[in-house]
Amino acid sequence: MENFELLMGGLESALTPMNLLYAAIGVLLGTFVGVLPGIGPAMAIALLLPVTYRLEPTSAFIMFAGLYYGGMYGGSTTSILLNTPGESASVMTALEGNRMARAGRGAQALATAAVGSFVAGTIGTILVAFFSPALADVAVDLGAPSYFALMVLALVMTTTVLGTSALRGFAALFLGLTIGLVGLDLNTGQPRLTFGVTQLVDRLDIVVVAVGIFALGEALWVAAHLRRKPTHVIPVGRPWMGREDWGRSWKPWLRGTAFGFPFGALPAGGAEIPTFLSYLTERKLSKRGDFGRGAIEGVAGPEAANNASAAGMFVPMLALGLPVTATASVMLSALQGYGITPGPQLMTDHADLVWTLLASLLIGNTLLLVLNLPLAPLWARLLRIPRPQLYAGILFFACLGAYATNLDPFDIGLLVAFGLLGLLMRRFGLPVLPLILGVILGPLMESKLREALTISGGDYGGLLSEPLAVVIYVLIALFMLGRPFIARARARAEQSAVVEEEKELVD
C-alpha cells in the first residue's frame, strides 16, 4: 500500500485552491479546444507550454492534465451533436451518439460520454499508479506480429457490421481499404494512388474522410430531400440520464475501459482500435436491436475506451520515459523544461513529481465531470436550431475542421469529394461504417504486417512468433468455426431487428 500513500501525498500537494483554479482553466480550455475541429490536445498543450514555464511544475501538470482530458472529452461533443468527429478517437462515438441526439436524447448521450470518460479516466489513472512498471515490461514484449493479429481480429469483427447485403458491405469495406492505401508507402518511399498530387502523398486524414462521409454526405442527402419529405423535428428530450440509461451504460463503461487501457499502454496501441472494438462488442452484445437508431451503449463504450486509452498512455511514459503519442512527447518535453530527464528512472528519481502528476490527472478528471455534466443539457439545445441553419453550421464546422489542420484549401476540396461519396453511398444503399473501418484499419494493418515480415526476412512463420498472436489466431478460428452455430441460435431473435437497423444505417 506504499503506492497508495504516495498517491495520497500527491493529492495533498496538488489540492490547493490555486491549483484547482489551474485545473479548472485547463479543463475549460481543453474542452473548448476539443470542440474546435482540427486542434488536438497535443497542439493545445504545445501552445500553452510557454505559459507554464513560469508556473511551478505541480501547477503546470495540473493544467496539462485538465487540458488533456478536457480535449479528449470535447471531441465527443461535436461528434454527438453535429456528427463531425474532431479526431480519429471519437469517430465511433458519432455513430450512435448522433442518432441519439437526433432522437432528442442528446443530453443523455453527452452525459454518458462525460460519466464514462470520468469512470474510465479514473480507473485508468489508478491502474497507472499501481501497475505501471509491470505493465510496461509486458508491453515492450509485444511486437508487430501481435499487433497484426489484433488488427486481423478487428477486421474479422467488421464483418459483423457489413449489413444485410454482404455484397454492399464488402464493397464499402474494400472502398475503405483502397482509400487507406492512398499516400506514400512508408517502407519504400513509393507514392501510391496519388495521381501526381502532392497533397495526396501524405496519408489521407481519417478525420477528413469521416467528417466528409458522415456530416457532409448527410447534409447533402438531407438537402436533396428537403422539399420532398416532411420536416423531421427533433423532439425535446429530458435533460438528465434516467435510471434506464444508467443501467444500460455502466457495463459498456467498464468494458470500454478494459479495451482502452491496455491499448493505450501499448507503444503502438492508440485509441482507434479499442474504440472500434468496444463499439462492435456493444453492438454484438446488445439484445435490444436499437443499434443504428441511437443505442446509448454505443456511446458509453467507445467514449470510455477513448479515455481509458488516454490514461494508458502514461504507462510507457512514466515507467519507461517513452512518449508514444504526440501529447506524451509534448508533456515529456515540458518535463525537460524543468531539468528532468525522462527515462526509466523517472518514477524513482522524481517520485514526488510523478505522484503529483497522477494526482493531477485524478483532479482534472473529476473537475471535467463537475464542469461538463451540467452543461450537457445546454449543449443539447443547440439542436433546436432550425434545420437549414443547423446544417449550415455543421457544414461550416466541417470545413473549418478540414482547413484548420493544415491550413490548406485542398483539404476542403477533399472533404467535399468525400461528402459526395457519402451522398452516393446513401443513394445506392452502401453502409458507411465498413468504409470508415477500412480506412482506419487498412494502413495500420499494412504497416504492422510489413514490419513483421521485414524482421522475419519475409518468412510468414514470423507472424506466429509471439504467443499473444497465436492466441488471437486461435480465438479467430474458434469464432469463425463457431459462427454458424451462434448464428442459428440467434437468427430468430435478431432477424427482425437487423433488417430495421440496416434501413436506418442506409437512411
Binding site: 470542440v35 474546435l36 497535443a42 497542439m43 498543450i45 504545445a46 510557454p50 514555464y53 508491453a139 515492450v140 514484449d141 509485444l142 511486437g143 508487430a144 506514400l184 512508408l186 517502407n187 519504400t188 518511399g189 507514392p191 502532392t198 497533397q199 502523398v201 501524405d202 507503444p267 503502438a268 510507457p316 519507461l320 520515459g321 517513452l322 512518449p323 508514444v324 504526440a326 501529447t327 506524451a328 512527447s329 509534448v330 515529456l332 518535453s333 525537460q336 523544461g337 531539468g339 530527464t341 525522462p342 527515462g343 526509466p344 528512472q345 523517472l346 453550421g393 461550416f396 473549418l400 484548420a404 489542420t405 493544415n406 491550413l407 490548406d408 514490419e451 521485414t454 524482421i455 526476412g457
Partner: protein
C-alpha cells in the same frame, strides 16, 4: 464561439501585413513535440522573452509529407519578409521521398542553429559489445541484422545506417531497415528485442542509457558526446570513415530583399548570443552550430547533394 474560431483561423494563416510590420510568423514543418517543434519553439521563446523583434511571433505547425508540404508552401511565399521556417536534414530528405521539387537552398537561408549527433544503439544484453562486433556480423550476413530508426525513408535515422553500411562495405540495398514512428516506439522495439540495432538522435535516449537499458556503440559526430554519452567512441575513432550530423536551422522565403535578409540574420545572431539560448542548447542536448547566410547556403547545397546520392544508391530516386 464561432467568431473566436474565425479569429483563430484568420490569425493562423497570417493575414497580410505591411512591410514595416515587426510581427513574424514561424512555421514548424512537423507536429508538436517533435525535434523541429522543440528547436523552433525554443528559438521563438528566446526571441519573445527578450522581445528582440519588437513585435509578436506566431508559431504555426504545418504538417504533412514529412515537412515537404511546409517547404513547398514556403517557396510560394516569395518576397514575404515576415516569415521564418524551421528546417533540418529530415525535411531535405522528405522533399526527395515525397517528390516535391523545392530545394531548401533556393529559399533564403538565414542560419543553421544546431547539430545533433546520431547514435548506434543496442539493448544492454546485445551480443554486440563494440561497433566492430556489429560491423563484422553485419558484413558477414546483412540479412541477420535488422535495424530500425525513428524516421521514414529519406529521414536522418534512415540515411545514417545506409551511409554507415556503405562506409563499412555493405551494400545499402541489403540493409533491413524498419521505420518506427519516432523515438518512443523505436526504444520499445529495442527493449523488446524486436530489432537488433537502433539508429537515432541521442537526446531522447539519455534516460535509457543512464539506466543501463540501452548501450551506445558509437556516435556519428566528429567529437564524442557529453554526460552519459561520453564513453561512446566516434565512428572515426573506431576506424570507420564517416561523420554524420543531423542539423536544424532557419529559412526565409525566396525573393526577400538583401536588406531584410541581413536584418533577419542579425536578429538570429542576437538570439544565438543570448544566455537563454545557450541554456536551451544545454537543456536539450543540442550542439551549437551557428552558421549564417552564404555559408549556410553552401552547407545546404552540400547536404542536399549527399541526401540525393544516398537515396539514388538505394534506388529510391
Amino acid at each position: 464561439m464561432l467568431v473566436t474560431c474565425l479569429l483563430a483561423v484568420a490569425s493562423a494563416c497570417g493575414v497580410t501585413r505591411g512591410e514595416e510590420s515587426r510581427d513574424l510568423d514561424m512555421w514548424i514543418p512537423n507536429s508538436p513535440g517533435g525535434g523541429y517543434d522543440q528547436t523552433g519553439r525554443a528559438a521563438v521563446g528566446v526571441l519573445d522573452r527578450d522581445n528582440l523583434t519588437g513585435g509578436d511571433i506566431q508559431v504555426t505547425n504545418i504538417l504533412g509529407a514529412g515537412g515537404s508540404v511546409a517547404m513547398s508552401r514556403l517557396m510560394s511565399e516569395e518576397g514575404n519578409g515576415n516569415l521564418l521556417m524551421t528546417i533540418g536534414l529530415g525535411v531535405v530528405g522528405s522533399t526527395y521521398s515525397f517528390g516535391v521539387d523545392a530545394r531548401p537552398q533556393d529559399a533564403t537561408p538565414i542560419a543553421q542553429l544546431i547539430e545533433e549527433q546520431e547514435g548506434v544503439l543496442v539493448p544492454a544484453d546485445s551480443p554486440f559489445k563494440t561497433i566492430d562486433d556489429l560491423v563484422k556480423a553485419w558484413s558477414a550476413d546483412p540479412d541477420s541484422v535488422v535495424v530500425g530508426g525513428g524516421s521514414s525513408p529519406g529521414g536522418p535515422d534512415h540515411l545514417f545506417p545506409m551511409q554507415l553500411a556503405k562506409a563499412a562495405g555493405i551494400d545499402p540495398k541489403e540493409v533491413k531497415y524498419v521505420p518506427y514512428d519516432g523515438g518512443g516506439p523505436l526504444t520499445s522495439a529495442l527493449l523488446g528485442h524486436k530489432i537488433e540495432v537502433g539508429f537515432s538522435g541521442l537526446a531522447e535516449f539519455e534516460g535509457q542509457v543512464e539506466a543501463g537499458e540501452l548501450r551506445v556503440l558509437a556516435v556519428s559526430g566528429d567529437e564524442r558526446g557529453t554526460g552519459v554519452f561520453a564513453d561512446a567512441p566516434t565512428l572515426t575513432e573506431s576506424g570507420i570513415d564517416l561523420v554524420f550530423l543531423n542539423w536544424r536551422g532557419i529559412l526565409a522565403p525566396p525573393g526577400i530583399s538583401d536588406e531584410r535578409r541581413q536584418e533577419l540574420i542579425d536578429l538570429l545572431t542576437r538570439m544565438h548570443d543570448s544566455k537563454q539560448w545557450q541554456q536551451a542548447l544545454k537543456d536539450n542536448g543540442w550542439t551549437d552550430a551557428f552558421v549564417t547566410g552564404d555559408d549556410f547556403h553552401d552547407l545546404l547545397v552540400e547536404q542536399d547533394k549527399r541526401v540525393a546520392t544516398t537515396l539514388k544508391e538505394l534506388d529510391l530516386l
